[in-house]
């Protein structure tokens, strides 16, 4: 083996390994699973667990919103999928919506999730093509959630009780 080859390989390996150590300390994964998930995100091979996603979608359809959110969170552990975050936000919206008043805490969590979805979508404009949903775009869902958390005179309108959940 050539000395220069060994030295070059040594330098490349040292820099790579040092970068890995710095990355570990920067991301601080709490388990091997988190570490491998993070590594797959860095390597660009990360993908949502489709089986879990579908299972969560079914739970969502049966109005089991909390269970659906848990399942989606497990299917997207690195919180890198815009579509999953959109559905999580939608689950918060559906669960928090009320004919007389909305659950502000759930709506705020929904806002966080929809903001993540918007950040993760490549062009910032996310649209989900699901015929069972009444809101398809992230911007529309965000507006709905924001409106739900704000207090206004419209809240006193008795006709509010005839509005529809989307």
């Amino acid at each position: 083996m050539q000395p220069n080859l060994i030295k070059s390989a040594g330098i490349a390996w040292t820099i790579l390994y040092a970068a890995f150590v710095v990355w570990l300390y920067a991301t601080a994964p709490r388990s091997f699973t988190e570490a491998t998930t993070g590594a797959s995100v860095v390597a660009g091979t990360y993908a949502v667990d489709e089986a879990r996603f579908r299972a969560a979608r079914e739970l969502f359809g049966r109005e089991q919103y909390a269970a659906a959110r848990d399942e989606w969170a497990r299917g997207d552990p690195a919180v890198r999928d815009a579509r999953t975050q959109f559905y999580i936000a939608y689950a918060f919206y559906r669960e928090g919506w009320g004919r007389v008043y909305n659950d502000d805490a759930l709506f705020r969590q929904g806002l966080d999730a929809i903001n993540r979805a918007i950040q993760l979508s490549p062009a910032g404009a996310l649209s989900v093509d699901d015929p069972e949903l009444k809101i398809h775009s992230a911007a529309e869902l965000k507006a709905e959630l924001q409106q739900g958390t704000e207090s206004s005179l419209g809240d006193l309108n008795p006709l509010k009780i005839v509005r529809e959940r989307k």
Partner: protein
């Protein structure tokens, strides 16, 4: 044909010993030191079993600087031989990376044996500083320095991962009960409740980290011999080095060739020496 083979220019890396030395210096040592840098700050939470990565605190970096100075003083590292303008740039870069890795490994080795909070952390830091500062003015050779460091880290390991771990054990180790009885109302809560408890795996990780660190120091050559083709080297010593790298058959052939052409002059020189 055989003569031509014997006199052909030899590959400098024909000798496996040289290959191995290069592999140790340029690949194994950085790997060992970076592994120490990785594992030195790794803890495992007792309650959840989750990994916790603790970056080296400032005091660990200060201790590592003092330790590097001590390495240079004790000739464990001959800095002039590691980084030299006579080396090829590639060699200097590789050596610099190894020394940087050694610095962070030292910082993380201290991080591994320093308590994570409370009064004991400052006591340990103070004793480390005191020991390293005193050692700066003591006469050291590389071997003594290594023994002294092994003892220093060993003692700190026993104190932190055995005695203090027992003191802070959630189920109340023997030392906790003893200290509780002796120091009740005296330490103003500094002995209890301020330390996060870690799983026993943390102690094992720290043990192997320190063992790896000491192994790295043992493998670390004080002055790496030059192996650069382009480094200026006296021609005669280069010839001797190349001769030693030949196989026994090749050496015999070379000697025969020299004797065939130089026999007369060699005999004259020997004769002249004897008559003097």
């Amino acid at each position: 044909m055989k003569e031509a083979r014997a006199l052909a220019p030899v590959d400098l890396m024909q000798n496996p010993r040289d290959s191995n030395r290069l592999l140790v210096r340029h690949l194994l040592l950085p790997t060992i030191f970076l592994t120490v840098a990785l594992a030195g700050g790794l803890r495992v939470a007792a309650a959840t079993g989750a990994f916790l990565f603790v970056a080296p605190p400032l005091v660990a970096l200060v201790l590592a600087v003092l330790l590097m100075l001590l390495f240079a003083r004790g000739r464990l590292i001959d800095l002039g031989a590691w980084l030299n303008s006579d080396h090829a740039p590639l060699t200097n870069v590789s050596h610099a990376l190894t020394l940087i890795a050694l610095f962070f490994a030292s910082a993380q080795a201290f991080n591994s044996v320093l308590p994570d909070a409370g009064l004991f952390r400052w006591m340990f830091a103070f004793f480390f500083l005191w020991t390293l500062w005193n050692n700066q003015f003591a006469a050291f050779d590389a071997r003594r320095l290594l023994r002294s460091l092994a003892a220093l880290f060993g003692t700190a390991f026993v104190l932190k991962h055995m005695l203090l771990a027992s003191l802070y054990a959630p189920d109340g180790g023997w030392l906790k009960r003893l200290a509780g009885a002796l120091l009740e109302g005296f330490t103003q809560g500094t002995l209890t409740g301020t330390q996060e408890t870690f799983a026993p795996a943390t102690g094992y990780i720290s043990f192997f980290t320190l063992a790896l660190y000491v192994l790295g120091l043992v493998l670390l050559p004080s002055a790496p011999e030059t192996d650069d083709r382009d480094a200026p080297e006296p021609e005669t010593s280069s010839l001797v080095i190349q001769y030693r790298r030949l196989s026994p058959e090749e050496r015999t052939l070379l000697r025969e060739e020299i004797l065939r052409t130089e026999r007369g002059r060699l005999e004259d020189e020997i004769h002249a020496t004897r008559t003097d």
